[in-house]
């Protein structure tokens, strides 16, 4: 197996120490960081997403794989930036105001990175104003909003409204979290709903592909 194949396997199996080891080895072998991402990280996470969709793995294994990818990414990210490599699409993600739960949001962020999005993670308990400011600063193609508590769902409504009102009409908003439903998504005028981290990748790709045809931001 090549180093990239080994790295890819370590990530999809969630072996974070191996992931770090093989990522370092790939760097040492002078493989360009963008190529490491494209040929190891992206296929590994695509495989994880596929297996998740086929019910071959569940959230725990997905979390473990995502952590392994993050390990590899911490080594690669500074090199990607140094090499001036930026992914084609940018996404902003955060947990809405009033909600501190971020494990689900972090998983989606990693899955998106694994699908070669540039992801700006605003963290948890993010106010509508902060989302708007980040949208203006980063001009993302996509904004992801997460809420775990039924009581913080109203904050999602406020955030969607604030982003729309700020004039960022082209940006696609995708929402998710335990209490969220497709119906809620339609009610609050978000562009997409993802019931889990696996479908969050599909939804993101679908929305940015549509957006790219509509009107690039």
């Amino acid at each position: 197996m090549t180093t990239l194949e080994q790295l890819s396997e370590a990530i999809s199996l969630g072996k974070n120490k191996d992931a770090r080891l093989f990522a370092q080895r790939a760097i040492d072998e002078n493989i360009p960081p963008a190529q490491i991402v494209d040929h190891a990280l992206v296929p590994a996470m695509a495989l994880v997403g596929e297996r998740f969709k086929r019910n071959e793995i569940f959230v725990p294994e997905m979390l473990i794989a995502a952590r392994a990818m993050k390990e590899a990414m911490t080594l690669l990210e500074p090199r990607l930036i140094a090499a001036g490599v930026t992914p084609k699409f940018t996404a902003i993600i955060g947990t809405v105001q009033g909600d501190l739960h971020d494990i689900g949001k972090n998983l989606v962020a990693t899955m998106w990175k694994g699908a070669n999005f540039r992801v700006v993670d605003l963290g948890a308990n993010v106010s509508p104003a902060k989302f708007v400011a980040a949208v203006q600063e980063h001009r993302p193609h996509l904004v992801g909003l997460s809420a775990l508590l039924t009581t913080t769902m109203p904050a999602m409504i406020d955030t969607v409204r604030a982003i729309r009102a700020s004039g960022a009409s082209a940006v696609k908003i995708v929402i998710g979290g335990a209490p969220i439903t497709q119906q809620f998504c339609e009610e609050i005028g978000a562009d997409g709903y993802a019931p889990d981290a696996g479908s969050a990748v599909d939804k993101a790709s679908e929305l940015v592909a549509a957006g790219a045809i509509d009107s690039p931001p």
Partner: protein, 543 residues
């Protein structure tokens, strides 16, 4: 003549207990059981037509209604006579004869402290000398009628919190209560539909008129106390999770609109610590004696929110961890609360399958409750059926007897009882359980790490609440729910919320201790703890 002295041997190796005599002389042995709060299954209405109330007479005699006297050992229908007054008898009550406990509520608690006999509420012997200790849980509510002259619990009544019909969990109810009309509906539901009938029953069964109730003490989580008093809990639903009141509060029965009690009777609401660590946990600290421990001690209450309290070096660290509803049966394909018909224990035999199941009596199998899943995780892992990842080891799964295997839209599953689809466990269920147990385990570990401790440093881990009652502690350790601990460190303490309410009621010095506790507690927000997520992921796999 005095009623007979009756000692009962309870099922499942529970300790023998004297059957307290009711205020009114019992007309049958079955009535005596009912008066003692342990009703037998008298489904034919004590007519002797069924064998529901059959108990075993191990020593003593039993006089039937027709005058015939039966001597030990014999099987007797408890509704068809009584143990003669002035005599003694030893009985065994098999599980199948105990009436449907719907819901099964934990009303017992272990007391780790001594209590002074100085009631919190003013007592006039013979006139106004009883009190109520009340635990308002999100799911279940218990009212204990206490004789304040002796401190003895005379009668306990329990039921589901009727607010469940309006909203299943705390957050749904917080959200509902944002609207004044719904808030009033929730208040009405707990005061008029839940507490009032329970108080009524407790007093009626014990033969105590309401006028003799001198006052009450209420423990419960912060949300329940808000809803009981009609207070808007909205600010507790979103960060920074602020409670409108958290201190010890004395109201009157009239103010709470508890019309069944004398209007002026004081009702003490116990103090809490924060929106998510409420008076129920503070009561638990007092009841278990956690604060008197000489070494680091933990109080853990496993529910949708797992609450964890660490007492160490004169300081209390508290946290709540989002375990989700899995251990209460939520989000699992065959999950249920601990109700009649729930499988509570799973015991793998020497060859694994078929496992022996123990079900809460009163119904056919309706599903599996949290303790059964914990049993399963531990034994399926140790037998190799489950890999560390929570997936079936297919080599072993494939050789299970066909009736124990199932495969469908939910993926591959295991059927614990070949005849019952209500006993199926799927890999998806296991994945949910892994996340729930990881949340609790990581919560405990993070709190210990904050204090610079590891599990072996902990002198005692008190496991409170309904989940703890059925839990096989060694299986909880083995499946990684309480990792790194030994069974000897863990003590299952029952309903310590009720216990703390009782303690505060009979010993007036306790409320002040509870109030001090809130002041010394430091709240740890797990999601803001560096390393929590990593620990959570580490704890996800089966050991």
């Amino acid at each position: 003549m005095k009623e007979a002295e009756i000692i009962v041997r309870w099922p499942d190796g529970a300790p023998e207990r004297r059957l307290p005599a009711g205020r009114v002389r019992s007309d049958s042995l079955a009535t005596r059981f009912m008066q003692a709060g342990r009703p037998l299954n008298t489904r034919c209405g004590q007519r002797g037509n069924c064998a529901g109330c059959t108990v075993e007479l191990l020593a003593g005699t039993f006089q039937q209604r027709d005058g015939a006297v039966i001597s030990a050992r014999a099987e007797i229908k408890a509704c068809q006579g009584n143990v003669p007054p002035g005599t003694q008898a030893l009985l065994a009550a098999p599980a199948r004869s105990l009436a449907v406990h719907r819901p099964q509520v934990v009303t017992t608690f272990k007391l780790g402290v001594t209590a002074a006999q100085q009631p919190l509420v003013p007592v006039t012997p013979g006139v106004c000398d009883h009190g109520l200790a009340i635990d308002v849980g999100t799911t279940t509510v218990v009212v204990a009628l206490v004789d304040l002259l002796t401190g003895r619990i005379v009668r306990e009544e329990s039921a589901f919190n009727r607010q469940i019909e309006l909203g299943d969990d705390v957050l749904t109810r917080i959200q509902l209560a944002g609207l004044a009309q719904q808030r009033e509906a929730l208040r009405h539901s707990i005061v008029d539909e839940t507490l009032t009938p329970l108080i009524w029953q407790a007093c009626a069964f014990a033969g105590i008129p309401f006028e003799r109730i001198a006052g009450a003490v209420v423990a419960g989580n912060t949300t329940m106390l808000h809803l009981l008093t009609g207070t808007d809990p909205t600010a507790m639903g979103v960060a920074p999770f602020r409670a409108s009141f958290i201190h010890h509060r004395v109201m009157t029965a009239g103010e709470l609109q508890l019309g069944v009690l004398p209007a002026g009777a004081p009702v003490h609401l116990l103090p809490g610590i924060s929106a998510y660590v409420g008076a129920d946990l503070v009561a638990g600290c007092a009841c278990t004696g956690l604060l008197n421990a000489t070494g680091p001690s933990l109080l853990v209450d496993i529910g949708t929110n797992g609450e964890i309290l660490l007492w160490h070096g004169g300081r209390l660290l508290v946290t709540a961890t989002a375990a989700g509803p899995a251990f209460e049966g939520g989000r699992l394909s065959r999950g249920t609360r601990a109700v009649a018909g729930a499988v509570a224990h799973v015991e793998f035999g020497r060859h694994g399958f078929p496992p022996r199941l123990r079900t809460i009596p009163g119904s056919n199998i309706v599903g599996l409750c949290g303790s059964a899943y914990v049993d399963f995780l531990a034994q399926a892992r140790s037998s190799g059926l489950l890999a560390a990842s929570g997936r079936w080891d297919l080599a072993i799964w494939r050789v299970l007897p066909a009736a124990h295997r199932c495969e469908g839209a939910d993926g591959r599953g295991v059927r614990l009882a070949p005849a019952s689809d209500a006993t199926i466990i799927t890999e998806r269920d296991v994945a949910e359980l892994l996340q729930a147990k990881a949340a609790i385990a990581a919560g405990i570990q993070t709190l210990l790490r904050r204090a610079g401790l590891t599990p072996p440093d902990v002198q005692r881990l008190y496991l409170a609440g309904g989940f703890g009652l059925h839990l096989d502690v060694s299986h909880a350790i083995a499946c990684g729910l309480l990792p790194g601990f030994t069974a000897a460190q863990i003590e299952v303490v029952g309903n310590t919320s009720l216990g703390g309410a009782w303690l505060a009621l009979v010993d007036r010095s306790v409320v002040a201790e509870m109030a001090n506790l809130g002041a010394t507690a430091a709240i740890v927000e797990l999601n803001r703890e560096p390393g929590f997520e990593d620990t959570f992921i580490d704890r996800m796999m089966l050991p």
